[in-house]
């Protein structure tokens, strides 16, 4: 059937061995909100596996980059390819973890029900969420150490726990590419440990994990590669090559490297 040949060959068992195209490649991505350019001609190729940080000052277009890759914001120009093909969001190949502040945490839903949302695209239209789906969701909640809080209304969880619930929802999806918007912003030390360990685990399993990140100091310890943005692409590649004083000065303006650190963290 045509529909199946259209799909990426890597869909069943995603991995570089089956498909030589990179998991994510972006060419000339340009985005504007009204009359303000947010991203300008950004090129980026994600590694077949590993943990990539998206860095840059406020307003550099970091979140917009993720949203543009997913097609959530209209682009003026540019091309996004996932395993060499335009992204079909319904395949579940790409998991998205939005910023925690993007949802209403007073919403009447439990932690377990949120995690189960990661399975909705597989359940399909009009079909109900069944017990086996909830069991699968519970297993993911257990991975982030929150099995005990499964039936809590999400507003009763701490910020870090909420972030772990979001991560568990993405894990339930079993994607190949994970796009996370500030997964470590404003969360407690325990939650940060859990999230970082799981992201490292995903990278070790051959997944590509791309996260918007604010704290420049912790980048080398957590991430393999980085994309440094300030509307334009400043630098991309292995962390050590990206985080040079010259690149940081270009990204954060004419401030010293140390001040760049500080302002980036304060504004987070």
């Amino acid at each position: 059937m045509l529909a199946t040949t259209d799909r990426p060959a890597a869909l069943g068992a995603p991995g570089p061995t089956l498909d030589p195209a990179p998991p994510l490649s972006v060419r000339g991505l340009t985005v504007a909100y009204h009359d303000r350019l947010v991203l300008r001609e950004v090129d980026f190729t994600a590694p077949p596996a590993g943990l990539v940080a998206i860095l840059g000052p406020n307003g550099a277009g970091k979140s917009t980059f993720l949203k543009a890759v997913l097609g959530l914001v209209p682009t003026l120009d540019g091309e996004v390819r996932v395993f060499g093909r335009p992204l079909d969001r319904k395949t579940g190949l790409v998991a998205y973890v939005p910023q925690r502040s993007s949802v209403d945490w007073d919403f009447p839903v439990t932690a377990l029900e949120v995690v189960a949302m990661g399975l909705y695209h597989r359940i399909g239209w009009l079909r109900p969420v069944r017990r086996r789906h909830l069991e699968a969701a519970r297993a993911q909640l257990d991975r982030v150490g929150l099995a005990d809080l499964a039936d809590r209304q999400i507003g009763q969880l701490s910020g870090g726990q909420q972030q772990r619930v979001f991560l568990a929802r993405a894990l339930a999806q079993d994607a190949h590419i994970y796009l996370l918007d500030e997964p470590l912003a404003g969360i407690d030390a325990v939650s940060e440990r859990v999230v970082v360990d799981l992201l490292r685990e995903l990278a070790a399993l051959g997944r590509t994990v791309i996260a918007v990140h604010h704290d420049l100091e912790s980048v080398p310890a957590i991430f393999d590669e980085a994309l440094l943005l300030n509307v334009r692409r400043i630098a991309a590649g292995p962390v050590a090559e990206v985080l040079t004083p010259a690149n940081l000065a270009r990204a954060y303006g004419a401030v010293l490297e140390l001040e760049a650190h500080r302002s980036a963290r304060v504004s987070g």
């Binding site: 997913l70 969001r89 319904k90 993007s102 919403f107 009447p108 009009l126």
Partner: protein, 313 residues
């Protein structure tokens, strides 16, 4: 009193019984669709759409009058109301999409425009020397008891069908309301889901037009879910509770209206819903006003007088 008990127990004649059952289903349907509108923060859209039914309703009446010599033709009136409400909904979207003013202002402008036009048309109809215009007024306040048997059966059937449809869509609507960004990123079109929700709302307003009236149908969308939210912390409980509160409002309101002949059905149903809502607001555990005040007082006591003298929240 006897007639009220008879009406409550569906013993006041077949027509009254069907009307009461219809109002009960209608209340449940309103509670269910309203739950999602409340969680999607689109209740004001319901407000605009319900007021926007008015000009279409009156124009349909005038069209019927000039084409068939009879204004009160139910299918025509429902069609007019539906088209007019849809136009109102589209107008809200269009005005809000310019992003020059906020969505609340867009909704209020459209609401005022349509309701003003509707009232103008209505006063024109009332100046006409024709009969049947009293029938038109009934669509504003609603009348369960006065409807024909077939009409009442239709309302009951449609409301039940509607209820099932919304329940079937629970998963999709939950996702839309909680995290539209995530939904969109995983292949669900939020624009289409929003359109679906708006469509469900319009369908409900049209089904409810006869029983509770165009403007008051809104109350069945707002009050039951607002009351249910105070008692329930998860959608799986909020939905049946909103349906139950809506059903109770419909049942009691229709029975009151049937027993006390002069009482219009719409306001009766709405007032029962309002009593249930305000009672919930006061006495609901955890989220109710009393519960919060008690917790606050307890906190003040634990902290001791000195520490609690500042503002607490």
């Amino acid at each position: 009193m006897e007639s009220l008990i008879a009406a409550l127990l569906l013993g006041a004649g077949y027509n009254s019984a069907v009307a009461t059952v219809g109002a009960t289903f209608l209340g449940a349907a309103g509670g269910v669709v309203g739950t999602f509108l409340l969680l999607r923060r689109r209740v004001m859209l319901a407000d605009a759409a319900s007021h926007a039914t008015l000009p279409g309703l009156v124009l349909a009446f005038l069209a019927g009058l000039s084409l068939f010599g009879e204004g009160r033709i139910l299918p025509l009136l429902l069609l007019g109301a539906a088209l007019s409400a849809a136009l109102g909904g589209l107008a809200v979207h269009a005005v809000a999409a310019t992003r020059r003013i906020g969505e609340d202002a867009a909704i209020a402008s459209v609401l005022a425009t349509f309701y003003g036009a509707g009232t103008l048309l209505l006063s024109y109809v009332q100046s006409l020397p024709v009969g049947g215009r009293a029938g038109l007024e009934r669509f504003l306040l609603g009348s369960a008891a006065g409807t024909l048997r077939t009409e009442a059966e239709l309302v009951a059937g449609l409301a039940l069908l509607f209820l099932l449809l919304v329940l079937l869509l629970t998963k999709e609507l939950r996702l839309l309301c909680f995290d539209p960004g995530f939904a969109e990123a995983h292949g669900w079109s939020t624009a289409r889901l929003d359109l679906l929700l708006t469509g469900l709302l319009l369908a409900f307003l049209v089904i409810g037009l006869q029983t509770v009236g165009s403007v008051l149908a809104l109350a069945l969308v707002v009050l039951p879910p607002a009351a249910a939210r105070l008692w329930a912390d998860r959608l799986g409980r909020m939905l049946p509770l909103a349906a139950a509160i809506g059903a109770l409002s419909g049942w009691l309101g229709a029975a009151f209206s049937a027993a006390l002949q002069r009482l219009p059905t719409g306001p009766a149903i709405v007032l029962v819903g309002a009593v249930l809502f305000f009672t919930s607001l006061l006495v609901a555990p955890r989220r109710g006003v009393v519960a919060v005040a008690v917790r606050r007082a307890r906190l003040r006591r634990t902290l001791g007088r000195g520490a609690a003298s500042g503002p607490l929240s």
